[in-house]
């Protein structure tokens, strides 16, 4: 058993290495993680340092991406902005996956009224446009990055729930599950020890492809002024603050937006590559 499952991942890894899109995605994601972790060492200027003489300077050798309304270096701010974007994307997707896995396991494994209840709840949550539901939650709880995290975490788990339930249904009656049950394994042990590892590849693919959504949503909510405060830096918030001066300082909007596009593209490319490598069934879908 052990030997076989390792070769599955080795096999997948060798396929991943051959996919140019996956490699490009992996490199982009890796670079952004490095930038986020080592931001204080990479950024050429203090991201909060105002310089009223150099306000809204066009890109130059000293300031490759220009300066903003307060004379702050746009590139340094973008480097620090990578932190919140990545943390938001990864933590939100982790919570979404956690909720979705638990509900999906319960629905798929027990069936009956448990399944009906959970799946109707999923249908209902899916009916709300995610961003509007998140906004409504924020209207009640107030602005702030933690509330963005909270609101985004509880709206997007439905994909995971549907995925996990479907996968559980397809493996529930397989021999190894029946055998485990016959040997007297508890429901919990069967779900976490036997079913979950088998559906993990699919979850990893969805999680990687899903990181893009909370990154874009956080940017959108911060753009609307509901996320970051002025002592926090996120790309969406940078765009929001530069927006009134769009005619005079295009760089303060264009570059932070490009950062969002590139990092999201990176995760999407990586996710696509993972899907082709881990799950040949899902190729081209």
């Amino acid at each position: 058993m052990e030997e076989k499952s390792r070769s599955f991942y080795q096999d997948a890894f060798s396929r991943l290495k051959k996919s140019p899109t996956a490699i490009v995605g992996l490199i982009i994601v890796f670079i952004f993680i490095i930038i986020a972790v080592f931001a204080p060492y990479i950024a050429p200027y203090d991201p909060f340092e105002m310089n009223l003489i150099n306000r809204q300077e066009a890109p130059s050798w000293e300031h490759p991406f220009g300066t903003d309304f307060f004379g702050r270096d746009v590139m340094s701010r973008m480097i620090f902005g990578a932190r919140i974007s990545l943390i938001m994307g990864i933590t939100v997707i982790a919570v979404r996956a956690f909720i979705g896995i638990i509900l999906g396991l319960l629905a798929g494994y027990y069936g009956g009224w448990v399944e009906t209840l959970i799946m109707r709840l999923t249908d209902a949550v899916i009916s709300f446009p995610g961003i509007i539901l998140a906004l409504a939650i924020m209207a009640v709880r107030g602005p702030g990055l933690f509330n963005v995290f909270f609101a985004l975490s509880i709206v997007g788990w439905t994909t995971f729930c549907r995925l996990v339930r479907g996968e559980v249904l397809s493996v529930r009656e397989r021999d190894y599950v029946v055998a485990a049950r016959g040997l007297g394994a508890s429901d919990l042990k069967i779900m976490l020890g036997h079913i979950l590892p088998n559906i993990m590849p699919a979850i990893v693919i969805y999680a990687t492809l899903g990181i893009a959504a909370p990154i874009i949503s956080e940017a959108g909510l911060s753009f609307l002024g509901l996320g970051a405060r002025s002592d926090q830096i996120t790309w969406g918030f940078m765009i929001s603050m530069a927006r009134p001066y769009i005619r005079y300082a295009w760089w303060a909007i264009t570059f932070p937006g490009l950062a969002i596009v590139v990092v999201v593209l990176g995760f999407n490319l990586l996710g696509d590559g993972l899907r082709d490598a881990l799950d040949p069934r899902m190729k081209d879908t």
């Binding site: 109707r120 709840l121 249908d123 209902a124 949550v125 899916i126 009916s127 709300f128 446009p129 995610g130 961003i131 509007i132 539901l133 906004l135 409504a136 939650i137 924020m138 209207a139 009640v140 709880r141 107030g142 893009a212 874009i216 940017a219 959108g220 753009f223 609307l224 002024g225 969406g236 765009i239 927006r243 769009i246 005619r247 295009w250 909007i253 264009t254 937006g257 969002i260 596009v261 999201v264 593209l265 999407n268 490319l269 696509d272 081209d284 879908t285």
Partner: protein
């Protein structure tokens, strides 16, 4: 067919019920007293008490829920906390503008997505295919608000071709619907491509080819019709999602739709308006899905009746 439609309608009822529960519990079950939440931190006890009184928050929770749902069934979404107007007619007045925007964006994304997807599949692994795959992936990776700002920068401020904000003429609709529709265009391209690739490999296409039909007839006459079936579902779903996305797009272009209005009221914590919009969008999403499923049932006789 009738049983299928009836079954789908009956399925929608429990979902709608849970939707009302979620919308209602947003106001009542999140931490803190709703009245205090709405008034903010500086409110005095007397102010809070007055708002509790006007909103009926002193009564038992299930009575409040039943009254709220009863109101919704009669088309009464309550009154705005800011201007005292009825919520439902106010929302309805702004709905057409948003529907124009969403339909225009869907029109553009279908117009781009389907042909690009088809060409990409027919010329699989060509340079053209690579281009369209990159285009599709970029489409889903660009935040719509940023794309909107870039379009304004280029076409309004730099070239002066299109108005940067407002509504009224077709020119006002062009940039917002492109900004809103790009993600859908990417998704539709990807789905059309993969669906087309799948159909091209099937037996009946091989038969069509082997009986000597010219390639164009095979692709556009036989394959496309079948490949577009799953695309109808995604177009329906996208319409629902774009309703939500329209809020940010409307904010960028100061477009006077329902989303822009809700956003303004959200900042003022006008909860009846926010809840009304939330319920309305969920209801529309459910109805659109219902229609999509029924259309699908008509288009594809294989999936009927169960």
């Amino acid at each position: 067919m009738q049983t299928y439609i009836l079954k789908r309608l009956l399925q929608a009822i429990p979902v709608l019920f849970i939707v009302t529960l979620i919308v209602f519990s947003l106001l009542h079950f999140l931490p803190g007293c709703p009245a205090a939440n709405i008034l903010g931190e500086e409110a005095t006890g007397a102010q809070i008490e007055r708002l509790r009184e006007t909103m009926g928050l002193n009564r038992p929770i299930y009575i409040q829920y039943l009254e709220w749902v009863g109101g919704i069934l009669r088309g009464d979404f309550g009154t705005s906390l800011r201007d005292g107007r009825e919520v439902f007619p106010t929302l309805m007045r702004r709905l057409p503008a948003t529907l124009h925007l969403v339909l225009a964006s869907l029109f553009i994304s279908t117009l781009i997505g389907i042909p690009v997807g088809v060409i990409s599949a027919v010329r699989q692994n060509s340079l053209l295919d690579s281009f369209s795959r990159v285009f599709a992936l970029l489409g889903v990776s660009i935040p719509n608000f940023w794309l909107g700002l870039m379009l304004i920068l280029l076409f309004s401020y730099h070239l002066g071709w299109l108005p940067a904000s407002g509504r009224g003429t077709l020119a006002h609709l062009i940039m917002p619907s492109i900004a809103l529709g790009t993600a859908s265009a990417g998704l539709i391209t990807r789905l059309t491509r993969s669906s087309m690739l799948e159909v091209i490999r099937t037996d009946f296409i091989r038969t069509a080819r082997s009986k000597g039909l010219i390639e164009r007839r095979v692709i556009y006459g036989h394959a496309l019709k079948n490949a577009l079936l799953p695309v109808t579902t995604i177009v329906g779903l996208q319409m629902g999602y774009r309703l939500g996305g329209s809020l940010i797009t409307e904010a960028v272009f100061a477009y006077p739709g329902i989303g822009h209005f809700t956003y303004e009221r959200l900042l003022a914590r006008d909860m009846p308006v926010v809840m009304g919009n939330l319920f309305l969008f969920a209801l529309m999403f459910i109805l659109i899905n219902l229609l999509t499923d029924i259309t699908y049932g008509f288009l594809d006789p294989r999936i009927r009746y169960d």
